[in-house]
Symmetry: C2
Subunit: 241 residues, 2 copies
């Protein structure tokens, strides 16, 4: 059998691929070994345990990705125009999640899909990592958005950042849904297009005025309402704060 010069890398790559498409528990160490062309025992040798392997995948990607995010964020904050700045901020958050600056091509998207799957499975191993590693970066983005949209409550920005991350995750998890529902007119696996659509959608969402709870309640009570000119963010803010 041909020996792989860097078996450790092959194992990491195979594990990334299989975990990100099938979840953690559905993939056995033997599956990974087969995909990587390695012996099951050598996985134990390199990473000690299955959890250790998953942990190593995270360690490999988190640093470079969030570093790139922060670099792009610093540049984005310098953009003069508010609209452009907001778009640049969102793009700085989204883009590194699709294509990491690190070694492998498309590795960024694969790792982000892995994060989505682990998040859905409620994986205990990565639970702490997410809060420890990602929250700092996320907070920096929230603050940047706060600065550009000072009228918007922080809680609303948090909600919309949640929606952004969910949209990001799901786009990588189920791209075929976009292709199917668009009847082939769009390609859900087209990452460049996904980024553009996601950025545009998120910027518009962020620019909308805050949810007004009292107003919303009254609007549901009497659905007929003086006609609005169908411009988003039109509703006046008279929130509780």
């Amino acid at each position: 059998m041909t020996r792989n010069p860097n078996m450790r890398e092959a194992i990491l790559s195979a594990a990334e691929l299989l975990f990100s498409t099938n979840g953690f528990n559905a993939v056995s160490i033997r599956d990974i070994a087969l995909e990587a062309g390695a012996n099951p025992g050598s996985i134990t040798y390199h990473f000690k345990s299955k959890d250790g392997l998953l942990l190593e995948i995270y360690k490999r990607h988190c640093g470079p990705m969030n570093k790139r995010r922060m670099e792009l964020l610093v540049a984005a904050r310098r953009v003069r125009d508010v609209q452009d700045r907001l778009e640049a901020i969102v793009r700085a958050y989204v883009q590194p999640a699709f294509s990491s600056s690190s070694d492998l091509a498309g590795g960024g998207a694969r790792f982000t899909r892995l994060r989505a799957v682990m998040s859905a499975e409620g994986n205990a191993v990565v639970g702490r990592i997410i809060a420890e590693i990602f929250d700092d970066t996320t907070n920096a983005f929230i603050e940047a958005i706060e600065e550009s949209l000072p009228h918007l409550p922080r809680t609303t920005i948090v909600w919309r950042s949640q929606f952004l991350l969910g949209a990001l995750y799901y786009t990588l998890v189920s791209p075929e849904r976009v292709t199917r529902l668009s009847r082939g007119e769009a390609d859900g696996a087209d990452m460049a297009e996904a980024i553009e659509q996601l950025v545009a959608s998120t910027v518009a969402s962020l620019q909308a005025s805050d949810v007004d709870h009292l107003d919303t309640a009254s609007r549901r009570a009497k659905p007929t309402q003086p006609p609005a000119k169908s411009v988003a963010g039109k509703r006046k803010e008279n929130s509780t704060s």
Copy 2:
């Protein structure tokens, strides 16, 4: 027929809970039996296999949820004002995903979280069901949105519906992230608040003009731009259509 329907129901409920929080493969039949206070063998008796149990959960919820969605959609389409109609359409899609009209309280949210997890795990059993059962309903919503926003290409609506579903899923999967990032000011598990935030965000996203690729390219080339008044949906439409 069923002499003691309680046990069957208890198994279904326990499986729903465990699957939706831990994934499919991480939960064993013995785990479910323990949670339901049943014997492992009785699960095989009622549902034949583990896959059969998962399938039965879907059969139980899909019908009522999508029926409710269609009822609300019909009502939403009758709303006169465009802004209000759009909001009603989005709400008709979102609301039944959080609280089903069926028996158990909060069962809707639990089932939607289950769908999110199965989607992330790429579960083969439910793969076909989703396309078969959900696409009809989703298409009805896309058409309703198309009707309210005739200037928007269908592909863009599909992308934004993808983002909506992803946001919906992730909100149910990781509500604690909202609580954490908002430093306790918001409660990610507050479903009513989540719905309001999600609806407002999505309506604003839908009302944004289409992504213009050429324009976007030029805007990135020369970042200085006539200042926008930071009102969502303000940008003029000069799309390709």
